[in-house]
Symmetry: C2
Subunit: 183 residues, 2 copies
DNA sequence: TGTCATCCATACACCAGCGTATGGAAGCGA
DNA sequence: TCGCTTCCATACGCTGGTGTATGGATGACA
């Protein structure tokens, strides 16, 4: 076997980078090849076509983005509040777990039903986990549901909403909400 | 003056539709012309180039999306809680106020600084209005800020998060959060 | 009725990107 | 050293889009 100069994984990694930066439309074979310093010849040996790569990007994302984070939080123990407090930091910076990848896929899901289905699986898994943590100290199911939804929304909103908070930093605002959720 | 068969406004309207459905990359001159049942000849008479249209789409959105909603809520009176309760329904269904336009522009802003600046203006205006309403019955500034951010985030999140709520409809969950925000 | 502003059709040059075909090059194992 | 697998370069045809040029068509108004 000869050495793989630009193996599958390299293409996927570069593809995820492009996806995070510019959405699925920015994942183009020839620019990807250029970024990697090779021609597109090798790409079509690995993948056949562009669609195949896009599918594998989603596979990689779906694999990394939930279980890895949850396992990380769970492995360090503590009660529900402590685990929730650790959640935001448990998202290790990787190409797949980049929030921008999340946002790009979320937008993509709006126009592609197969992407929407994957997102549904991932979001359901995340909400289930959040709900289970809040349920540990909330009076009833409604309260846990409301707090889980709020936590998820504010996590996303913090990266999407561009408002000026007049003196407060975005992280301070997130912290204000977070404190109230953990009461 | 001869009759405008396909005047500026028609192109903008169709452009907003395409933007809402598929993001800025989906706003293409030739498909737009086809949707309108004409050739692209007239387009370049009106706009010069594609960039100009994209700019005008943003103009139209920025103009309609904040003041019109706020004026509508304000015109009907009531105390702060009543106004907040009416807010979701005050968003009249138009091409510019379509939530999908909002989401598309939000994604677009991530890769175009000029778009980001417009979004910053719009979001700041919205947050200012929300904050002012919550401040009417909240104990302190921190509380109002936290609730405004939560309201905004959950409004967006409700359209972005694809999780299955196990029996609850998405609107029920939103309502659970909303009730708590108005306490 | 003629003129002018407004809008549209058509044809064209051009470019970016997809996918294909083909001929290597480079290293590993026998 | 030979052959095989793995990867890359290059050239090509094709599609779908941008923007330009030009010659109408159509209707309001004088």
């Amino acid at each position: 076997m000869a050495q793989a100069r630009t193996p599958r994984g390299k293409w996927i990694e570069e593809g995820l980078r492009a996806l995070a930066a510019g959405g699925p439309d920015a994942v183009r074979v020839e620019p990807l090849a250029q970024s990697l310093g090779v021609s597109k010849g090798g790409f079509y040996w690995h993948f056949g076509d562009r669609e195949t790569l896009l599918g594998e990007l989603l596979d990689a994302w779906e694999r990394d983005v939930t279980e890895q984070v949850i396992e990380r939080v769970e492995s360090e123990g503590g009660d529900a509040r402590e685990r929730l407090r650790r959640l935001p930091e448990a998202i290790v910076p990787k190409v797949t777990t980049d929030i921008r990848t999340d946002l790009a896929i979320r937008e993509w899901a709006r126009r592609d039903e197969r992407v929407a289905e994957r997102l549904r699986r991932v979001d359901t898994r995340r909400m289930d986990y959040l709900r289970s943590l809040f349920a540990a100290f909330c009076a009833d199911d409604d309260e846990a549901e409301a707090r889980a939804m709020t936590a998820f929304s504010v996590w996303l909103g913090g990266h999407l909403i561009a408002a000026d908070h007049h003196g407060r930093a975005p992280e301070e605002v997130r912290e204000l909400v977070w404190q109230r959720l953990l009461r």
